[in-house]
């Protein structure tokens, strides 16, 4: 693993952290102010800060530090949570998101000076009313935008001038030593070490520390064994031994104190040959009332007894530790990270496996071995593997939904409309590729809803509605597909205006008789825009047709339900995956086609006379009291030698989004199986009425019918030919 890969992990994590923080703040906004919620926000920001420091993103680190300090205050209760504060934090989160983007090289580093000042002010302003007795340190820490406590070099722990004094003092001592002749020639100063019981607690091992002094070039010149009591009174946990080390002048005193940093007052250190060995601290007497933390060693004068003669063993653990939130959200579950490329390779291989399995089944069937137990088993396993592989690629749609609050905030500030967001079904899972490509159309639909759908507060009040608009966003699984709804409670589509506009633009004939659905669909026409003045929110009318194209590219459909005065709902129907789907294999003359099972309602073999002609080209069938148009598939696809009389073929009743139900006339149904979808666009070109292609068990290529497109197109054609 190299630095780039770790960095990539960091950025992926940033996205998750931002989403988690966003979610937490949204909960805050909704009135949940508990510790866990705030801590989730804190942890998100904290985690970004940690990585930012490690990877050297100074601006990002600086901003997260300020933000984190405020969040820390909020979490600790020193800063009260107000609506204003939450808005400020939401704004900070947006800027943080920009900082992360800048760190990735996807944008400019935002100018956060004013915001940092505001965040700092929030700490300072609230510190005065805070219930905490000593808010002052918080304020001073906050005012300094620097992050000197984080640079890995704890400068504050070491008083540099005092350290220089120490060295000077040690040099003096060395002069005295050299005359005595007892010490080694280069011994410049001495340190006396007496570990106490505390040096052996918490898994510490004094021996390792003594070895480290030796590694520094120190020499053990004396071991004080005078304090060892008689065997019957010995307490193994007490430090009875003391060592005197001579160290060369080149070694700084700080290097020695650093070794004993972890044990703090669990070990007494004194510097200078003349100072007496610190006394033994019996365990029994050492447990006293809590005293202030140990004084930093190096700040004390040289050649004097220092550090930890008195303070006790560490106080009893305060209730600072503990079990955090027991119900872990699913996103926090146990997981591993896999490179997407590897996963795609697996999915591809699974696709090939499905084909290979089908080919083998066909071959065996040809040999008269159609129903063998092994084959059934293989089929079941193949399906299991495929479903598991799909599940790996599946992600909750929440990652897309979590971006919506920010979009809404920007919209509300630019339009001045107040919009409340209601989200449901965030945990609905769908393919990662679909999720990634969903962001753009979703953003556009939301902008459209706020800009064109929801009215300004005055207009809403006049219409007897709440001044605050509501945007609902939902996702759900339905029969192998995902439905995503974006609804507003605005004014609905003004069909008269849409029609007038379409006529004006020359999109429809002035005398055209269009159904409500057809008028609604006009807003997806290229170049259509109903806004009287072009706003910078919804753009210049290039959006909605792009939205429809995006959704179509994902193998999905988009439908509109709108009621004047009540609101508009856009429904996106998307496939669970782009790679494999269930299909019905049918024969039409000399062609084999696949009808996606998601569209199929039922199939039936009509009796003679059941299919009734209606005009020259139209035929209908009455299916349990409901008249459904019959479409001979061979005409649509131009197949030769197909069954022409309905009673000799099979009717497949399909459900479409735009045109309701229709019955496709085919020669015969061959099979129902999974098909691996191969894009026609990438291998050939996009063809109207064809969703893609697949490879059949016998190795032949079959086209997958785009039922919606085909039915809508065929009905329109019939309509035209009738009109002619």
């Amino acid at each position: 693993m190299n630095a780039d890969e770790i960095q990539a992990i960091f950025f992926a994590e940033c996205e998750e952290s931002l989403a988690a923080a966003e979610q937490g703040l949204a909960a805050c906004k909704a009135g949940t102010h508990d510790h866990d919620t705030i801590n989730a926000v804190f942890r998100g920001v904290h985690s970004i800060k940690g990585g930012a420091g490690a990877f050297g993103y100074i601006a990002l680190q600086g901003f997260t530090h300020t933000f984190e300090t405020l969040l820390s205050d909020v979490r600790d209760g020193t800063v009260a949570i107000t609506d204003g504060l939450i808005d400020l934090m939401l704004g900070a989160l947006d800027t943080l998101s920009d900082h992360v983007a800048a760190a990735r090289g996807l944008g400019e580093t935002p100018d956060d000076g004013a915001l940092q000042a505001e965040l700092t002010a929030a700490m300072a302003a609230n510190a005065g009313v805070a219930p905490m007795p000593a808010p002052a340190p918080v304020v001073t820490a906050a005012v300094a935008p620097a992050f000197d406590d984080d640079d890995g070099e704890p400068l504050s722990d070491f008083d540099f001038s005092a350290m220089l004094d120490d060295i000077a003092g040690a040099l003096d001592a060395a002069g005295a030593d050299s005359t005595s002749g007892d010490a080694p020639v280069d011994a410049a100063w001495a340190v006396k070490v007496r570990p106490h019981a505390g040096a052996m607690r918490n898994g510490s091992e004094p021996l390792l520390m003594l070895r480290e002094i030796l590694d520094l070039g120190g020499q053990c010149v004396d071991c004080d064994v005078s304090q060892i009591p008689s065997l019957d009174t010995i307490d193994p946990g007490t430090g009875y031994l003391g060592w005197t080390f001579a160290l060369p002048s080149g070694v700084a005193q700080a290097a020695v104190t650093d070794i004993f940093d972890f044990v703090g007052d669990g070990c007494s250190l004194v510097f200078g040959d003349a100072t007496p060995m610190p006394p033994v601290r019996p365990q029994a007497t050492s447990i006293k009332a809590a005293s202030p933390p140990a004084t930093p060693l190096a700040t004390l004068p040289s050649s004097a007894a220092v550090a930890g003669a008195e303070p006790p063993i560490a106080p009893v653990p305060a209730p600072t530790s503990g079990v955090a939130t027991p119900p872990a959200p699913p996103a926090m579950g146990q997981s591993i990270r896999i490179e997407l490329g590897k996963l795609d390779k697996l999915i591809d291989a699974v696709g090939e496996l499905v084909i290979a399995q089908a080919m083998m089944a066909q071959r065996l069937a040809g040999d008269g071995l159609a129903v063998t137990e092994e084959l059934t088993m293989l089929e079941g396993l193949t399906r299991d593997i495929q479903e598991s592989a799909m599940a790996i690629r599946a992600q909750p749609i929440g990652s897309v939904f979590s971006r919506v609050p920010r979009i809404l905030r920007e919209l509300t500030s630019s339009t001045g409309k107040h919009v409340r967001l209601e989200v449901s079904g965030e945990s609905t899972e769908l393919d990662k590729t679909v999720i990634e490509r969903l962001g753009e159309p979703l953003t556009h639909l939301i902008r459209n809803a706020v800009d064109h759908g929801i009215e300004p507060a005055e207009a809403r009040l006049a219409a007897g509605k709440s001044p605050e608009g509501t945007l609902t966003l939902s996702a759900e699984h339905r029969s192998g597909r995902i439905l995503i709804r974006i609804g507003d409670d605005g004014k609905g589509i003004d069909r008269d205006r849409v029609l007038a506009k379409a006529v004006e633009k020359g999109l429809v004939a002035p005398d055209a008789q269009l159904s409500r659905e057809e008028i609604d669909q006009l807003i997806f026409a290229p170049g259509f825009s109903t806004a009287q003045t072009i706003t910078n929110v919804s753009g210049r009318g290039v959006g909605m047709d792009v939205v429809r194209q995006n959704v179509k590219d994902l193998g999905g459909r988009i439908t509109i339900e709108s009621e004047p005065g009540k609101g508009t709902t856009f429904t996106l129907t998307l496939p669970l995956t782009l790679a494999i789907s269930d299909g019905m294999v049918v024969n039409v003359g000399d062609q084999t086609l696949v009808v996606p099972l998601a569209n199929v309602v039922e199939s039936l073999r009509p009796e003679p006379g059941e299919v009734k002609g209606l005009g020259a080209n139209r035929a209908m069938i009455n299916v349990r009291g409901r008249f459904i148009p019959v479409l001979p598939l061979h005409i649509a696809v131009g197949a030769a030698g197909a069954v022409e009389a309905a009673e000799h073929g099979v009717l497949i009743v399909v459900e479409t989004e735009g045109a309701g139900r229709a019955a496709l006339l085919v020669d015969a149904i061959c099979d129902q199986r999974q098909v691996v979808i191969k894009s026609l666009d990438t291998h050939y070109r996009s063809v109207e009425g064809v969703a893609g292609a697949t490879i059949l068990g016998d190795g032949r290529v079959a086209l997958i019918v785009d039922v919606d497109g085909l039915v809508a197109h065929s009905l329109a054609d019939i309509g035209l030919s009738e009109a002619a």
């Binding site: 804190f42 985690s47 800060k49 406590d149 091992e205 972890f262 703090g264 530790s321 503990g322 872990a328």
Partner: protein
């Protein structure tokens, strides 16, 4: 169901100047909810010949420790489900890990934070963002 990965020492082991604790490979469990921090720790430690396992929070660490032996534990403090101090407390409760060297990852090196880590039962600490050399030095200082 496990959410940790064991990393074998990198094949291009750089020879260390300290043979004392290198007779057998020192095994380290790193506990952090941040994948990038785990990756950084993993990188810094495996390149120095340590055997590194990862867990994403205190509970995952306890699960792993129930089935595996380890020489040193390095843990973050603020984590979901079970935080670092909670993990140390749980480990110190039993005899098996009472003397286990445990380092906490902290963003501050103030005396207050050190005292708190000590009180919680940590053997030592590593200040984030860490210098890989200091990380290794801290591990060697406490690895038995």
């Amino acid at each position: 169901m496990s959410n940790f990965s064991e990393t074998q020492p990198a094949p291009n082991l750089t020879p260390t100047s300290e043979p004392a604790c290198m007779n057998t490979t020192t095994r380290i469990l790193t506990v952090d909810d941040s994948p990038s921090m785990r990756a950084l720790l993993n990188h810094a430690l495996t390149t120095q010949g340590f055997d590194v396992a990862q867990a994403e929070d205190g509970l995952a660490a306890l699960d792993w420790l129930a089935l595996n032996e380890v020489d040193v534990v390095i843990t973050d403090i603020n984590m979901p489900r079970l935080d670092g101090f909670g993990l140390i407390e749980r480990l110190r409760e039993g005899s098996r890990h009472r003397d286990r060297p445990i380092l906490v990852l902290t963003t501050e090196s103030s005396e207050e934070k050190k005292a708190r880590a000590r009180a919680a039962g940590a053997t030592g600490w590593i200040v984030k963002p860490f210098d890989p050399a200091k990380l290794v030095a801290a591990v060697r200082r406490i690895a038995h």
